[in-house]
């Protein structure tokens, strides 16, 4: 049977990808960040998952405003890298797992989570930056990736509670797949940040630390954070943290935190990384 062995929470700031792509990782600005991700990369090399379910959001690249799906599951065999305005990132094409994705769709819809099915989709920094942070810069990504795109761009995003419950349903779906597979679920985006308007640059380390603490200890508290609280306390774009709750829901009731890293800044973002193993 397929098993979800762990979850990774990580920011997906585009500037991080640009730093890698332009060979800036040793610069004083970036060096502490990449040093901080080193243990997570080592953990990932050991964990060697067969499949990653990548919970992320598209930033007006795959989805323009004709259609805005709240939850969209990538069912294609591969996902090309989007040109977001400065040329596509020079990273490998992302290989999907259409058979498992189709199983997830069927299981989730019958479990009353109405997923949008996406058979063709470009992926942007929301998906590729987490891959780079955890897998480095290989010639091919070492595992298959099923993208799960969550709308956090147009208000309202799905609630943290809804995301958490979808995560729980994903766990049930994965465990009903017969093949022996190790699956790692990523929750990406955040942490506190605002990248628009006169309030841009807002960060809230107190909010972020409490969020990281409660991911393992009291995720139910986090599922009760209303959307307005993310916006007010942690910045307009901090609503992305609901995607970390989707990841957390997929890990089952008991987890062990095996790594944590927190750093300000990457561009306008407070960067967080956590690894939680299912117990």
């Amino acid at each position: 049977m397929a098993r979800i062995i762990a979850g990774v929470g990580t920011s997906h700031t585009p500037a991080i990808g640009a730093a890698v792509d332009n060979g800036k990782t040793d610069q004083p600005y970036w060096q502490p960040l990449f040093k901080g991700y080193e243990p997570a990369k080592q953990w990932m090399a050991k964990a060697a998952p067969d499949v990653v379910i990548m919970v992320y959001n598209d930033h007006v690249n795959a989805f323009d405003f004709k259609v805005i799906p709240t939850f969209a599951l990538g069912c294609a065999g591969e996902f090309p890298i989007a040109d977001e305005g400065w040329g596509p990132r020079p990273v490998p094409v992302v290989k999907g797992y259409p058979e498992l994705a189709a199983h997830l769709v069927q299981s989730l819809v019958l479990d009353e989570f109405d997923m949008t099915i996406v058979n063709e989709m470009q992926v942007d920094h929301g998906l590729t930056v987490p891959l780079t942070l955890l897998f480095g810069s290989p010639a091919q990504w070492p595992c298959r990736v099923i993208p799960l795109a969550v709308n956090v761009v147009q208000y309202p995003a799905p609630t943290g509670h809804r995301c958490y419950r979808l995560g729980q349903a994903i766990r049930r779906a994965v465990e009903s797949w017969q093949e022996e597979l190790k699956v790692v679920v990523f929750g990406t985006g955040g942490m506190s940040h605002q990248i628009q308007g006169p309030r841009a640059g807002l960060t809230n380390p107190v909010f972020d630390k409490a969020f990281l603490d409660d991911l393992s200890g009291d995720p139910e508290r986090l599922t009760r954070i209303p959307p307005i609280e993310y916006l007010r306390e942690a910045g307009a774009e901090a609503i992305e943290l609901v995607m970390w709750l989707l990841m957390r829901g997929a890990l089952g009731p008991r987890v062990e935190e095996v790594y944590r890293f927190y750093h300000i800044p990457a561009s306008s973002t407070a960067v967080g990384n956590i690894i939680l193993e299912s117990r």
Partner: protein, 131 residues
């Protein structure tokens, strides 16, 4: 009855909601086309005629011309689409953000290096007035 919008009370922020998305639909469609290199070149070569392909309001057109980033947010641009205009200009995201805050890019980057902007005084419009 209008939708409840508690987030309108957050200072210095334009939450991209359904109403803004409707107002900004054609503006965002224009910005979305800047994902293509050939379109970026065509836009830079002749901004005015490039924009004629899209049903922008006069105010939106003027805000694009003057790169009035906050006004563009107010008129319905979503920040991720707006970033494509900054990139087309050869600017960074941080540059665009600094312009929105009225700071120089250097001061903005320095603020971030010092840990970013505290939420104190920025939680609500009334808190902002007192600050």
């Amino acid at each position: 009855m209008a939708a409840d919008k508690p987030y309108e009370d957050i200072p210095g922020t334009w939450i991209f909601d359904a109403e803004r998305a409707r107002a900004g639909y054609h503006l965002n469609r224009f910005l979305y086309t800047l994902m293509k290199e050939s379109n970026r070149k065509a836009f830079l070569a002749d901004e005015r005629s490039y924009l004629e392909q899209f049903k922008l309001t006069a105010a939106q057109r003027e805000a694009v011309r003057t790169r009035d980033w906050n006004r563009l947010l107010e008129l319905g641009a979503v920040v991720y689409a707006l970033a494509k205009l900054a990139f087309t200009d050869g600017r960074s995201y941080q540059y665009m953000a600094s312009q929105m805050t009225g700071m120089t890019e250097k001061d903005y980057v320095d603020m971030m290096l010092k840990g970013g902007r505290s939420p104190e005084g920025w939680r609500s419009k009334s808190e902002r007035e007192k600050h």
